[in-house]
Amino acid sequence: MNTELEQRLRADMEQATRDIRIPPGLALKAHRHSHKRTITTRAVAAAGTAAVLVAGTLTLAEVTGAFGQPAGGSQVRTTAYVISRVERALSASDMSNMVGYTRTVYPAGITLQPVPGGGTAEMTIRRVLDRIVAMGVNGSGGGSRSPRWGDYELLWAYHHTTKMSAFTATGQHVFDERLTVGRGSLETTVVTYPSHTWWTAQSPRLAVTGSASAGCLPAGQIRLTGGANAWPAFIHSQLACGAYTAAGKQALGGVDALRITGSSGQFTLWVNPVTYLPMRLQAGGLIQINFQWLPPTPANLAMLNMPVPASFHQVVPPS
């Protein structure tokens, strides 16, 4: 099998070039060298070759004229290129076989509570996000008034299984929720740590509205229709709507991530400069999702397991 070799190769290449930085003056050097070559061409032409003279002059005109255009030209082209690479990375065939991992930090006023049959884990996210949308991107409106159960969550998704772990801001493990999509139904199992309880429930699989991730949503809004691994489709659909700009680089997790912003400023995406896969999404300044796309190794797949501690007692699922 080459897979192991390929993964190792990629990791090694990443490691070997991690500290590579563009040396100052490289552009100037290239420009001077290019200019010198052009001048040389002209000199040769001046010595007597009329045809070369014409070519040399044209070349010089190209060089000076090329950068006489507004600086925005290259910026527009850079944006087009970056977004096309992101779209390509998101729709790559191996994306569907990745373990999607997200760490989502919710704003104050949002409460995470496990509910049976709320849909797949993707629907759990959607429920919460719907509340955010209901609050409005500026945080106005009513958030949940129920006791705070979780401030941030870690979520792993692979094919039809999703596991979410919710924590308080101080890192206290509040609950785990595992959802498995079957034929026409979904199974929800929740382990609640403060109360030492757990419950499980079968519920009909909710129909997902097909337009949820396909349309161009108002800035700052998020709709998901397929779990953590539905993020690629969502991001893809929003980028396809246009109005996004490559907005420079920003250090993120040890790499200089490329920043892509929506024209309204309500949607910012950071992507890996090499793989072009999303690293972070910030919507409306309220919610922040950090992404990782992991190979389906035994260790990563094990994150989807959710053992129930022996001392915990089973309770009736909440309605």
Partner: protein, 180 residues
Amino acid sequence: MGSDRAAADLELFLAERGEPLLRTAVLLAGSSEAGEDLLQAALERLLRRWRTIEGDPEGYLRRTLYHLAADNWRQHQVRRTRLRLLQSGAGAAVVDGTAEVDLRDSLVRLLRQLPPRQRAVIVARYWEQLSEAESAQALGCSVGTVKSATSRGLRRLRELSESSGPMELATQGSARGRRS
């Protein structure tokens, strides 16, 4: 005036996109110094074609990097190395790769032992994660050539790694994940 603008514009472009390009160039060329030379050569071509390039300049630059690396960069590099030796005098004739990337991992070191085209294909497929068709486009060859070069390159890398330390691959490979 045009020159100043040119340098500034290119500097802007490099600030935005230069790093991943240089990393690719370094992997293609085998050392940081050769990678910089390779990128500079590609930038010079970009400058000469700036106005006539349709679409994004980065795409052109990448294709140029791959073309140079796969086809004639080796010869070009030899010429430059000789030139450097002449310029710096006999005492500086130490082209020993001290400016090379810190090759902590054997596979990158072994990658340098592959022929340029195979190396370029491996970098395109496993570093940039281009598809076979995209790699073929970047390298200016057929998809079949990409497939065969990939297969031969991986086979060769495996042979080289097994002869230099099979256990290392077996123990470290599975623990590594894809970067975020």
